[in-house]
């Protein structure tokens, strides 16, 4: 299956892109995606091992199972206001 990974702020700087499509085996969890990104990509090696993520725009724990087409956003510390 393919999931969309979105990067913002510092994580966008690391990824060098707003978005990456990542192919994962069926049944993969957010933690598997994190591991893959940290292993695959030069810049994303600096991604924390337990980053805050949102799956389909809701904050979600790393154990969350992913499905085809899910949007997984990597959320660095927020600074709105």
């Amino acid at each position: 299956m393919i999931v969309r990974s979105l990067f913002f702020a510092q994580y966008r700087d690391m990824a060098g892109a707003d978005e990456l499509a990542v192919e994962l085996p069926a049944g993969a969890r957010v933690a598997d995606l994190v591991e893959r990104l940290r292993a695959d990509r030069g810049g994303l090696a600096a991604l924390p091992a337990s980053p805050v993520v949102a799956v389909n725009m809701e904050y979600a724990p790393l154990g969350t199972s992913l499905s085809e087409g899910d949007e997984v956003a990597f959320i660095p510390p927020v600074a709105g206001g």
Binding site: Q10, V52, M57, G80, G81
Partner: protein, 155 residues
């Protein structure tokens, strides 16, 4: 207890205080409180020239809407409108506006405070400071707690 409606938006346009107040206040309301966040000229001892705000806009709107709904339910206010600006902002420009309309003022103060504190903890918005001496730097922020946020959202 009043039942106000929630509204949230992320925008590139300058924020319009008068418009936000007019849109929030209904005949049942005796007061409105506007929180107006502005870009300061100085942060942690460095002179700031401008800020660049960015957002995960669709999720930010959803989170701000939820926070506004939580505040309405919790404090029994009238309408709450939350608008966050993104893009380049100069010193003195408003980055966020929160209007809480309410039949009574006590609830408006509590709800307003709740919305800005939760917004700072949970809403996916970032800012990069542009210093007068030329560099830029991401402003350190809050790390949203996935579990807490999910719980909060279920209220």
């Amino acid at each position: 207890m009043s039942v106000g409606t929630a509204y949230a938006a992320v925008t590139h346009e300058p924020l319009d205080a008068a418009r936000l107040l007019a849109d929030a206040v209904s005949p049942a309301d005796g007061a409105a409180l506007l929180f107006w966040g502005v870009v300061r000229a100085e942060n942690d001892g460095r002179e700031v020239g401008h800020l660049e705000y960015s957002a995960y806009a669709e999720m930010a709107e959803r989170q701000m809407h939820r926070i506004a709904e939580e505040a309405i339910a919790r404090f029994g206010t009238g309408a709450i409108r939350v608008v966050h600006r993104v893009g380049r902002l100069e010193v003195g420009e408003a980055s966020v506006a929160i209007v809480v309309a309410s039949p009574h003022r006590g609830e408006a103060y509590e709800a307003s405070r709740y919305v800005i504190e939760e917004l700072k903890k949970r809403v996916p918005v970032w800012k990069r400071e542009g210093y007068v001496e030329g560099e830029t730097e991401w402003v350190p922020g809050f790390s949203p707690e996935a579990a807490a946020a999910v719980e909060g959202g279920g209220r």
